[in-house]
Amino acid sequence: MLSPYERLLLAYLGKQPDQITVAIPPFPVLGVPKLEMSADRANPNFLRWDKETRIRKSIEFNVNFAKRFPDLCVLDGIGSGGHGDKSLHLAQILAPKLGRKVFFKESSRGGYTYSKPLIEDLSTFSTDELYVPDLSKEPDLERVLEGVEMRLELEDEAYADLEEHVANGVKGWASTRCVEDIIDQGLVSYRQFLIGMKLWPDKIHKLCEVTTEYVIEQLKHLEGAMGKITKLSIADHCTTFMSWKQAEEFWVPYVRRVNEAFRGAIHIYHNEGQIIHLAGLILKAGFDVYQVGPETDLVEFREVVGNKLALFGNIDPVYTLPSGTPEEVEDACKQAITKGSLEGGFILSTGGGPPRNGAPLRNLEAMIKSAEKYGKYSLSA
């Protein structure tokens, strides 16, 4: 019998393991002591913890999750920007060099967004001023990478008692954005980006160029600290708002460049939005796996991509998993498996992120049981 991680790898490669695996990032499970409260920003104590405590508690939560659910493959990656550290953001680095200011807005949960990006008005800004900074000369890089190394050391220690495949599920994972980093790295607002594709396409291409090169540089430094990236997840939601023509022009070439810079890794695209009209472009961008949202019709999707792309997800983390009955969860899993896995290459997971405020134990168990019940049947069929 294969381990959940081996099943995951086979499915990523488009093949049929003995059974469909459930692979999921840890989330609060209501009704299980030690797992009812996550160790992330949703935790009311989060802001009081120092960096090391945050990392320790997060790993502790993940290990408890893995121990409690040995039939699951636990997923957890390292962000290219050092867990969203704003000091490594492109806008933050470029702003003083360009004589500009950027402004952050802190949220009550410890996150932040740009309340004013580097470029307020793209129509008048000369993008010729932009360049890719040498990240190795940035003093904050060392501090961010120290955090990554600290996490890896603590993970090695924490996962030592578990079976090897459990640790393999979280090792070598890196996550990033690409074109959407134009917004997330604080260069322009979403609105300016969307308008710019039509009105100032050359400027948007320059932003894509700079951001893509910066993302690759961030990932290379990350790889230096964490070892070879074997699974690279790119979460670019901006395609949801694009037509085929726009995505082909402003997304595919840049994302493909990131994927090509990390040959040998499994390339995963995450976007829970409705992008069935772009299904063919996901392949063209060099992805092996697509984490698909709950509203996507898997049959329709398979008609376009065949079995050239592994699918991953589809269970609704907003309604079904946290609030549905076990029967509803089972039905959703059955639908996802029978529609998405006929030719292999399917992983049962949430379509999008995990349920933010958790889900009841009975629903997570229904998901695991559904993989056993329908995963084998579907594959043998």
Binding site: K105, S107, S108, R109, G111, T113, Y190, R191, L194, I195, M197, K198, L199, T240, F241, M242, S243, Q246, H277, V318, Y319, P322, S323, R356, N357
Partner: protein, 225 residues
């Protein structure tokens, strides 16, 4: 409709920024009222954009371009519009925010862009907005409409909290409450006492326009939408 206003409408629907603005100026120069340019040229163009969006020929990026063009055109006709209308030329005032606990802003900002483009004055309270902040703003600016956005199932109840807070302060009857966002629905609107559920930003503009038309007609009874 006159040829030039038809042309404004067509160029707008094609998302041709420069031609739309040039034609808007030309129409003003030819003596058309700002109101007529807005209603028969720009708004018709925006309606056409909405139809193309519904048919999935346009995507959100095109909607955003349409709102940008509309903003530019509004600047061209703004002064004339003000001189023609006693209320500053605005269709109405909207207090807009994402409910407490919810940090999503894309949908809200798209709706705001389109409402602004359609002539509404917007007071954007941002994201993660407690109900008391909505109440304070309503008291301060006396809006016609309160628009609430929520993207998480866990934050939808924030809609009810805002409505209840408005009721407690005897402000509820003075405003039209519209809601939108992925977990919202007609049932959610009814459950929490909102007046309208808007499936997308274009529908939000339509609901606001319908309400304001009724209000301006001095029919202040409940507006079925």
């Amino acid at each position: 409709m006159s040829d030039i206003l038809e042309e404004v409408s067509c160029r707008f629907a094609d998302l041709d920024l420069n031609r739309t603005l040039a034609l808007t100026k030309e129409a003003l120069g030819k003596g058309f009222s700002a109101h007529k340019i807005l209603e028969e040229g720009l708004s018709k163009g925006l309606d056409r954009v909405g139809e193309l969006f519904e048919r999935k020929e346009y995507f959100l990026s095109e909607l955003m371009v349409a709102s940008y063009i509309m903003e530019g055109a509004m600047k061209v006709i703004e002064n004339k519009l003000k001189s023609e209308a006693g209320d500053g030329g605005r269709r109405g005032r909207v207090v807009f925010g994402t409910v407490e606990g919810d940090f999503h802003f894309i949908g809200k900002n798209i709706a705001i862009s389109l409402l602004q483009a359609s002539g509404y004055e917007i007071f954007d309270l941002g994201e993660d907005v407690p109900s008391e902040v909505f109440v304070e703003k309503v008291r301060e600016v006396k809006p016609d409409i309160v628009a609430l956005s929520a993207l998480l199932l866990t934050t939808v109840s924030g809609i009810g909290e805002v409505v209840e807070a408005l009721k407690r302060e005897s402000l509820r009857d003075q405003v039209f409450v519209m809601i939108g966002g992925r977990p919202t629905s007609q049932e959610v609107a009814e459950k929490y006492g909102a007046d309208a559920y808007c499936v997308n930003a274009m529908e939000g503009v339509a609901a606001a326009n319908k309400y304001m038309d009724k209000k301006r007609g001095l029919n202040l009874d409940a507006v079925p939408l």
